[in-house]
C-alpha cells in the first residue's frame, strides 16, 4: 500500500470512529435525559416512575416542615399560573429557599405529589440581573 493510500485509509477509519462515538453520545443523551418541566406541564403529562426536573417558584403559605426532616411545599409556574404541585423534599435546603423564589428539584411523581430525590434541590444564584426594562 502506498503512503497516500495509507493516509487516506487512516483518515477514514478515524472519522468513522469519531462519528460512531458521537452517535453513541447523542443516543445516550436522549435516553438519559430528564425532561425539564414547569408545574403546569408536569401536572398535564407526568407519568409515574419517570424522573423529571421540575422548575418553579415556591407558593406563599405552602411551606411546612414535618418532624422527620421532610420539607413540604408547593411549586407554581414562574409566569404565575394558578396550578401548583405538592412537593416532598429531604436533604440540604439551600439558603435562598423561601416563598416566591425559583428553584429546581429532580424526582418523580407519586399520586398527586412530586417526590424529590434527597439533596436534589438547586436554587438559582440570586444575582440580580433583572430583565432590561
Amino acid at each position: 500500500m502506498n503512503r497516500e493510500r495509507k493516509r487516506r485509509v487512516r483518515l477514514v477509519v478515524c472519522l468513522a470512529l469519531a462519528l460512531a462515538l458521537a452517535g453513541g453520545l447523542i443516543y445516550t443523551s436522549f435516553s438519559a435525559a430528564a425532561q425539564a418541566l414547569t408545574p403546569t406541564q408536569l401536572i398535564a403529562r407526568a407519568r409515574p416512575g419517570v424522573t423529571y426536573q421540575l422548575t418553579g417558584t415556591v407558593v406563599a403559605g405552602s411551606v411546612r416542615r414535618t418532624t422527620n426532616g421532610v420539607l413540604d411545599f408547593r411549586l407554581a409556574d414562574r409566569s404565575g399560573g394558578r396550578r401548583s404541585i405538592f412537593v416532598q423534599y429531604t436533604g440540604a435546603v439551600p439558603d435562598p429557599f423561601r416563598v416566591g423564589r425559583e428553584l429546581i428539584v429532580t424526582g418523580s411523581v407519586r399520586g398527586a405529589s412530586f417526590i424529590a430525590s434527597p439533596g436534589s434541590m438547586i436554587t438559582k444564584c440570586p444575582s440580580k440581573y433583572s430583565p432590561a426594562k
Binding site: A32, A36, Q53, K124, P126, A132
Partner: protein
C-alpha cells in the same frame, strides 16, 4: 457625573470606530501614521473606559442612589468592600467591567507587540476595537449603567447576602479577564490569516497570548469552584452547570491549542487545525459570555431574561462565519510541511491529546446545549444531568492524565524500542506499585475508574519526576551548582518545558482531589439535640452548645442576628476539631413579618464551618430557615407584644423590638431547639486546591518572559536541538 459617564461611553464608542477605520485604511495603504492612530485608539479606549468605570465605582462607594444600578445593587448597610464589588453584581455593571478589562488587556497586548508583527498588528487592533465597539454599543444603546432617577431613593436594595463573600471581589474580575483575554489571540490569529503571516514570528506571540488567556480563565474557573464549594446549594465545587461548562469549554480548547501549536512550531504540521483551534477557543469564550448574559439556558446563575440575546447571536455568527472563511481562503499558507512519521511519536501523542480535548469539549457542548437541542427536536426541553457528563468525561480525563505522562517522555518523530525501555521503565514501575497499593492498602479495588485514574496518575507523576530528576542531575553535573541553585537554574533555562511539566503534575493532583472527594464523601443530614452525637465517615460529631449573637456588624456582612451551634469532632475518642456552623439573618425592609420578625426575615445565609487538612475536610452547616421556623412561636409572641403597645411611638417600638429579639436569642441559648445540621467528611479535597496552585505556578513559570526574551528563545531552541541530537545518539 452620570452625564460624564454617559459621555465617556459615547466617546469610547467613537474612539473604537475611529481606530478601526484608521488601522484598516493605514494597513491597506501602508500609511504608518494611520496605523499608529489605530494603536493609540486602543490606549485611548482604555483611558476613557477607566474613567467611566471609576465614575460608576465612585457612585457605588459614596452610595449615590440617584444611579438606578446603585439603588438596585447596593445600600447604606452594604459594607464598603461589597459596595465596590456590587458594581459588577448587575447586568450593566458587569458589561462595563467586561469591556473595561477588554480595553486594559488589549492595551497590554498592543504595547507588548509595539515593535513586532508590524503587518499583523493593524488588523489585530481593528479586531480588538471591533469587540470594543460591540460591547460599548451595548452599554450606550441597550443597558446603560448611567441611568439616573430623580428624586434619588434614600436607600438601595443592597447586594444579595449570598454574594457578600470575599470571592465576589475576585472571581468575576478574574473570569472576565479570562474571557476578554481570549479575544486577543483571536485578533492576532485573524490578523495573521488576513496578512498570510502564519509564521515563526507569529507563533510564539500567539502561543503566549493563548497561555495568558488560559491561565486567567483557569484561575477564574477555580475561584468559582472554590466559592461554590463553600456555599450550600450551589452543587459543590463542580455541578456541570451551564455557566460552569461555558467557561470550561474555551479553556479545554485552549489547552488543546497550547499542545498542538508545539507541533507547528517544531515540525510545521497541523496549521489548519491550530488556526481553527485558536479561533474556536475565542468564539467559545464569547459564547460563554453570551450564556452568562442572555439567560438562554437555565442555570443556578439565574441571570433572568434579557434582551441582549440577539446582538450576541449576531456577533457569534460573524465570528464563526469569518473564522471559517479565513481558514478556507488561506488554506494555501496553512499547508503542512511534514507528515506524521509514526504512531509512536510525540506528534501522535499530541494528536491524540487534541482529539481527546476536542471530544471532551464536544461532550460538554452537547450536554450544555441539550435543553435547546432536545427542545427543538422533541418539543420538550430536557436536561442530561451530572451522571451523563460523568460517564463520558471521567474516561476521557483518565486518558488525558495518562497522556500527560506519555507526552513528555516519548520522542519526536519515531520512538524506538531502546528509547521506550529507557524512558518508560520507571513510570511503569510507579504504575505497578500503585496498582498493588490499590488492591492491598487503599481498598479502592472495587471501583474500576478510581484504580484506572490512580494508575494513570502514578504513571504521570513518575514520568515527570524522572524528567525533572534527569534534567537536574545533568544540570548539576554540568555546572556544579549547589542543589537548590541547580534546580532553579534548570527551570530558568527552559521555563516553557519545566513550566509545562509542573502544570501536568498540578492537573494530576487536582484531578486526584476531585476523584477522591467525589467518590468517597460521607454526608449526613441530622437533627441533633444539645449533647447528642452522630457518626459521619468515622468521625463522631457532637452538638456541644448553641451560640447566638446580635450585632450590627457593617464591616463584615451586615447581618443582624447570627445563630449557630458548636460542633465537637472526635475520631476514636481523640479530639479532632471544633466547628462553628452559623446562620446569619438579615432584616427585611418591607416589614411584612411584623416589627420583630422583619428584623430577621430578610435573606438568611448558612455559613459553612470547615476544617480542612491534607487528608480530609470536615464540614458542618446549619439550616437557617429551619432554625428560624423553630423560633416562629416566640417571634409571633414578640410581634404581638410590640403591636399591643402601639401607643409608645415608633422610636420606642423599634427599641422594644430589638430588646425582644435579644430576648429571643437568649431563649435560643437557654433552650436550644434541636439543630438541623448537614455534616460531611470529604477525603483529599484539599489536593484539588493544592493542584490548582501547582498549576498556577507552572503556568506562571511557562509564561514569564526571561531576560532578553529573544536571545533566550534562540538559545533554548539551540539547546533543545542539541539535547535532541544527544538523545538520539
Amino acid at each position: 457625573m452620570a452625564l460624564a459617564g454617559r459621555a465617556a461611553l459615547i466617546i469610547a464608542l467613537l474612539t473604537t470606530l475611529c481606530g478601526i477605520t484608521a488601522s484598516l485604511y493605514g494597513a491597506r495603504r501602508g500609511r504608518r501614521e494611520l496605523v499608529e492612530v489605530g494603536r493609540r485608539s486602543v490606549y485611548a479606549l482604555a483611558i476613557v473606559l477607566t474613567l467611566a468605570f471609576a465614575i460608576l465605582e465612585v457612585a457605588f462607594i459614596t452610595n449615590d442612589f440617584a444611579y438606578d444600578t446603585v439603588a438596585n445593587n447596593s445600600s447604606l448597610t452594604t459594607p464598603l468592600l461589597y459596595r465596590v464589588a456590587a458594581m459588577w453584581g448587575s447586568q450593566e455593571g458587569s458589561l462595563l467591567l467586561w469591556v473595561w478589562l477588554l480595553s486594559i488587556w488589549s492595551s497590554l497586548a498592543v504595547f507588548l507587540t509595539r515593535n513586532r508583527l508590524r503587518e499583523i498588528v493593524p488588523y489585530a487592533v481593528a479586531v480588538l476595537l471591533g469587540f470594543g465597539t460591540f460591547f460599548t454599543a451595548m452599554l450606550v444603546f441597550f443597558v446603560s449603567p448611567f441611568v439616573t432617577s430623580s428624586p434619588a431613593p434614600a436607600n438601595g436594595a443592597g447586594l444579595d447576602p449570598l454574594l457578600r463573600n470575599p470571592s465576589m471581589m475576585i472571581h468575576p474580575p478574574m473570569l472576565y479577564s479570562g474571557y476578554t483575554f481570549f479575544t486577543i489571540p483571536f485578533a492576532f490569529a485573524v490578523g495573521a490569516l488576513i496578512t498570510r503571516r502564519v509564521d515563526s514570528e507569529w507563533i510564539p506571540v500567539v502561543r503566549r497570548l493563548a497561555l495568558a488567556s488560559w491561565m486567567f480563565l483557569g484561575i477564574g474557573i477555580l475561584l468559582g469552584a472554590h466559592w461554590a464549594y463553600y456555599e450550600i446549594g450551589w452543587g459543590g465545587y463542580w455541578g456541570w452547570d451551564a455557566v460552569e461548562n461555558a467557561a470550561l469549554m474555551p479553556w479545554l480548547i485552549a489547552t488543546a491549542f497550547l499542545h498542538s501549536i508545539m507541533i507547528q512550531e517544531k515540525r510545521g504540521m497541523l496549521k489548519v487545525w491550530n488556526a481553527s483551534l485558536v479561533l474556536a477557543a475565542s468564539t467559545l469564550a464569547i459564547v460563554g459570555t453570551f450564556l452568562v448574559r442572555s439567560g438562554v439556558l437555565s442555570s443556578i446563575h439565574a441571570f433572568g431574561a434579557s434582551t441582549l440575546g440577539v446582538p450576541f447571536v449576531i456577533l457569534i455568527a460573524i465570528m464563526v462565519a469569518g473564522s471559517i472563511y479565513l481558514v478556507v481562503s488561506r488554506r494555501d499558507v496553512l499547508r503542512s510541511e511534514h507528515q506524521l512519521d509514526s504512531l509512536f511519536s510525540r506528534e501522535a501523542a499530541f494528536l491524540l491529546n487534541n482529539m481527546l480535548f476536542v471530544g471532551l469539549t464536544f461532550v460538554i457542548f452537547w450536554g450544555t446545549f441539550f435543553p435547546l437541542i432536545s427542545g427543538a427536536i422533541t418539543g420538550t426541553e430536557s436536561e442530561v444531568g451530572a451522571p451523563w457528563f460523568d460517564r463520558y468525561t471521567v474516561p476521557l480525563a483518565i486518558a488525558l492524565v495518562a497522556l500527560a505522562g506519555i507526552g513528555p517522555i516519548i520522542p519526536w518523530r519515531r520512538a524506538t524500542l531502546a528509547n521506550m525501555r529507557r524512558n518508560f521503565a520507571f513510570p511503569l514501575l510507579a504504575t505497578a506499585v500503585m496498582l498493588v497499593l490499590c488492591f492491598t492498602t487503599f481498598g479502592a479495588g472495587s471501583s474500576a475508574p478510581t484504580v484506572a485514574f490512580l494508575c494513570a496518575a502514578a504513571f504521570t507523576v513518575g514520568s515527570i519526576a524522572q524528567e525533572l530528576g534527569r534534567g537536574y542531575l545533568a544540570r548539576r553535573a554540568m555546572s556544579g551548582d549547589s542543589p537548590p541553585l541547580a534546580l532553579v537554574s534548570m527551570i530558568r533555562r527552559n521555563r516553557r518545558r519545566y513550566g509545562g511539566y509542573i502544570v501536568h503534575v498540578g492537573i494530576t493532583v487536582l484531578l486526584l482531589g476531585i476523584a477522591a472527594s467525589s467518590t468517597f464523601t460521607h454526608t449526613a443530614f441530622v437533627n441533633l439535640g444539645r449533647g447528642h452525637a452522630t457518626t459521619v465517615g468515622g468521625y463522631t460529631m457532637t452538638n456541644v452548645r448553641p451560640t447566638a449573637a446580635i450585632v450590627n456588624d457593617p464591616t463584615s456582612t451586615g447581618a443582624l442576628l447570627t445563630l449557630g451551634v458548636v460542633v465537637g469532632v472526635t475520631h476514636d475518642g481523640r479530639y479532632v476539631t471544633t466547628l462553628h456552623p452559623t446562620a446569619e439573618y438579615y432584616p427585611d425592609a418591607s416589614g411584612a413579618e411584623g416589627p420583630v420578625g422583619s428584623l430577621i426575615s430578610g435573606d438568611a445565609v448558612s455559613e459553612l464551618s470547615l476544617d480542612s487538612s491534607l487528608r480530609r475536610d470536615i464540614s458542618a452547616a446549619i439550616d437557617a430557615a429551619e432554625i428560624q421556623s423553630a423560633l416562629q412561636p416566640e417571634i409571633n409572641q414578640a410581634n404581638a407584644l410590640v403591636a399591643r403597645d402601639g401607643s409608645i411611638g415608633p422610636t420606642k417600638q423599634t427599641e422594644l423590638s430589638y430588646y425582644l429579639l435579644a430576648a429571643i436569642a437568649r431563649g435560643y441559648l437557654r433552650h436550644p431547639p434541636s439543630a438541623p445540621l448537614k455534616l460531611a467528611s470529604t477525603p483529599l479535597v484539599a489536593w484539588l486546591w493544592i493542584g490548582a496552585l501547582i498549576l498556577l505556578v507552572g503556568a506562571l513559570i511557562a509564561i514569564w518572559p526571561g531576560p532578553g526574551a529573544v536571545t533566550g528563545r534562540a538559545r533554548a531552541r539551540y539547546l533543545a536541538r542539541v539535547a535532541q541530537e544527544l538523545g538520539r545518539a
